[in-house]
Symmetry: C2
């Protein structure tokens, strides 16, 4: 059964996430993973069902975080501007809390097999449509500029995609510093306002 400090299953998922991030899912072999975990390839079929089960867990666990986060945002009474701020914070939180799974979630979902691929895409579509509604609402209340909502959506979502590479920049920047700077950047742009 699950050994105490961290179950072997958890270790497998974590090491796998790192490998998937670094090499991608198809280029990561079970032998690579075995070596990392300190097991022979045949051995972790006592713990997991298949290679894809790992990918599925990572993808859908991350997806759930976004789904839950979106629900919370939608349930609050807040201006659209505030909701957008909360969503940006949500993306930053997910990306920084668990950077490896966030990467896999972002880039490796396409290697899911059916029907999981369709299920995942449905979750994603749902999330994006909620996101879109907030942007559209913000435009109609004149909180936001009149810019194509889907263009705004994709720009914002993707602008946060570098966060989970975590190693390169911003070692010295605090998390809240990053949050605040990013929100200012996305809401008001790089250009300095002339007041």
């Amino acid at each position: 059964m699950s050994s105490n400090p961290k179950s072997k299953k958890q270790i497998i998922f974590q090491e796998a996430a790192e490998l998937f991030r670094d090499k991608g899912y198809p280029a990561t072999s079970m032998r690579d993973l075995a070596e990392r975990v300190g097991l022979k390839p045949s051995s972790f079929y006592s713990h997991i069902k298949s290679k894809e089960e790992i990918l599925q867990k990572i993808c859908f666990d991350s997806a759930e975080k976004f789904t839950i986060g979106m629900k919370e945002v939608c349930d609050t009474e807040a201006t659209n501007k505030e909701k957008l701020q909360l969503l940006i914070r949500l993306h930053i939180k997910v990306a920084t809390e668990d950077p490896t799974t966030a990467t896999v979630f972002n880039d490796e979902w396409r290697h899911l097999s059916e029907p999981h691929l369709s299920n995942f895409l449905a979750l994603r579509r749902d999330y994006e449509s909620h996101f879109l509604k907030i942007i559209e609402a913000g435009i109609s209340t004149q909180e936001f500029k009149q810019i194509s909502p889907s263009l705004v959506l994709y720009t914002i979502i993707n602008s946060l995609r570098w966060l989970h590479f975590a190693n390169k920049p911003t070692k010295e920047l605090s998390a809240t510093q990053i949050e605040n700077d990013l929100i200012q950047l996305l809401l008001q742009g790089v250009e300095k306002n002339v007041l």
Copy 2:
């Protein structure tokens, strides 16, 4: 000799870029590619040297576009704000002119083998450092807000990464429309200025 309308080599590169975009480099087999081109797997070794040669060409051709574009921007006499605008336009141009190779350039370069991987990363580092200098200069002249330059760099670069998925959104938006909206969005943010 090179048959006229499009040489077979060109066809191979183009079909390969599409497959690499859709399935990723490691998940794309030479047999997949063969079927697309209408050749048997063994046959295109008359045209190309190896699978990786295709990846190399795509990556370094795209890299060259950015390098050349950056040189042009650096050579102009312009304010840092104007230079940043030009760089954003450059990214949009590359991403929309040849969306498939742009995707490969963005996501599949890590599968390059040495020494090509190091060469590629050197080009990239060089590009980014020029980009950073412009942002830093803009901050010191007070054209830009005082936000961590590398944070601005990665946000901008990545915010344009969805463009090459081309299919999903913005079918009806013209290219110049997209350009203008994006520049406004990145320079001045989503929020509507209260004037």
